[in-house]
Symmetry: C2
Subunit: 343 residues, 2 copies
Amino acid sequence: MVDSAEAPASIIDVARRAGVSPSTVSRSLRGMPNVSEATRQRVMRAAAELSYVASPAASRLASGRTSTVGVVVPFMTRWFFAQVVAGAESVLHEASLDLLLYNLGDAAGRERFFDRLPLQRRVDAVLLVCVPVDDDERAALRGLGVPVVLVGTSAPGFGSVRIDDREGTAKAVRHLLNLGHERIAMICSLDDDDPLGFATPLLRRQGFEQTLVGAGLEFGPEHVVGAPWGVDGGARAMEQLLASDRLPTAVFAESDEMAFGALWTLRRAGLEVPARISVIGFDDHEMAGVVDLTTISQPVRPQGEVAATLLLDALTERTDEAAEVVMPTHLVVRGTTGPRPPR
Amino acid sequence: MVDSAEAPASIIDVARRAGVSPSTVSRSLRGMPNVSEATRQRVMRAAAELSYVASPAASRLASGRTSTVGVVVPFMTRWFFAQVVAGAESVLHEASLDLLLYNLGDAAGRERFFDRLPLQRRVDAVLLVCVPVDDDERAALRGLGVPVVLVGTSAPGFGSVRIDDREGTAKAVRHLLNLGHERIAMICSLDDDDPLGFATPLLRRQGFEQTLVGAGLEFGPEHVVGAPWGVDGGARAMEQLLASDRLPTAVFAESDEMAFGALWTLRRAGLEVPARISVIGFDDHEMAGVVDLTTISQPVRPQGEVAATLLLDALTERTDEAAEVVMPTHLVVRGTTGPRPPR
DNA sequence: TTGAAAGCGCTAACAC
DNA sequence: GTGTTAGCGCTTTCAA
């Protein structure tokens, strides 16, 4: 029951009620050592009776700690990012840390973020989700003077949690190769449609090329078709492929979202999957199972959880100097991939 | 360029450099009146030269304002919620307010939120996205002593931004009726799968029934089939419908996500849409266009923006006492609905 | 228009 | 173990 909220109880009120000094209240409530169990109990009772909640502003000012971590995402509306943030959120709140959310939105937003550094003086740590940073940005982040952990990329001096995109892509392509495919195309998001400079598209494109070449297949720019990121883009990219003279027998999509779009286009065109053409995605999006999409899965939410845990470690000083965690990917075979159709 | 971050400049440093008192610095930097333009310029220069950023903790403690708003969502991974948060985020950051994110996650999380009230003393306002509140919860929120705005529901004494779910549903059903359909089923999410007590499923179910009955059609529980919320659930619900003896000629899905699942099942079953069966969704999800889904659109991101704006108004005192905004919905006809097939 | 002074409500040495 | 004493870095009367 909350006392009529007029003026919140202060630490002094609690101290008086418990018959101790404010510092003892502070120590008791924060679970510090050097407080007798009896006193602690008395203090806790008094605090509960007064519905006491310490003023964050005051304790931040006095201690210099904010008990807050900043979480920065490019677009929080993207499934992947939202999932990572949710993972981080659960760990952070579990640890009684506040989560300050920052959504970059676009290139302008990103620039604003890095030169205004709105997190300045208000967080103890920062989590950047899929925001690759150049040297200047690294310096800016350092200027915050707090531990930084990256998800989805890595950078010298910062902790990071990610997958191996090239290796994941290789798994996808090898799956297609094993099925006998030789004419394989990739659908991926456009660079210039990527004002935020994600590293993922590039890495996956590289992985694609390397794996093809490594398998002794020829590779040319015509094997890659680009479109804006997303379901829509995937659909359009597949249209482009259909319009070309030599249809591939298999398509690797940079992300499941793009694969969804591709599948849609194929369906409209009446091309059977996988009988006529195979499609494989990447990420194992929550909808991949429903549309029976073969894909490369990666732990998404866990990356947020692990990143947050790294941050907690850094804050409690039992840090091993900017850990770099690489999480596993694996092939999930479903119904959209099959043997190369006979010529 | 940021000075070597060692010890951040304080207001006193700025004051000294500008040759004025700290209070003048404070006034200048916050754009208060009663500061000569010349002085203000001098202060701003000094501040810039020292890369001065006021300590939020100190100013919060001194002023009693946190310049922070708490944003609470049930599941931030759901497209709708993420979209609303993104809308709110842009408005809030534009106004230099921090955004403290809280994700309820499940029933336990929700309970924890309401009885621990982790936002206590740390926000100037709260935005609840699709969290209907009962009397106790209303009281708890009041206890925070800050303005509260709800998105997706409304409650006495709180501002709110939402759509008229019943009316939106009526539009969907009328569209089907106009196409000649008489056997119309609804796919909706299960109550007991809704630990958070969303109001939406209920309202849309009511709207469905009312519109059918209003049109003189009979209505029975067999017209509604439930499944867990989401694409998967929609797919399963449609399977149930297919298994029943009398297939409807049209289906209204509570949400586009569920409609996507339904479409998938229909596709697998080889039932042509809309030749054999029409499907209409609700929300106008970003993927609705790609799959050509007829649906009822609602402004999603704008609801977050408007809600945040309401909060800003409340904070700047030009509040009109808990405004209730109802935003419009409209029918978007695409390819999944068509005339009732001949008997 | 500006400055001086008194807090805001905690935490952290340091003493006992 | 516990209390005393200074701050932490701002904002805000109140005077000038």
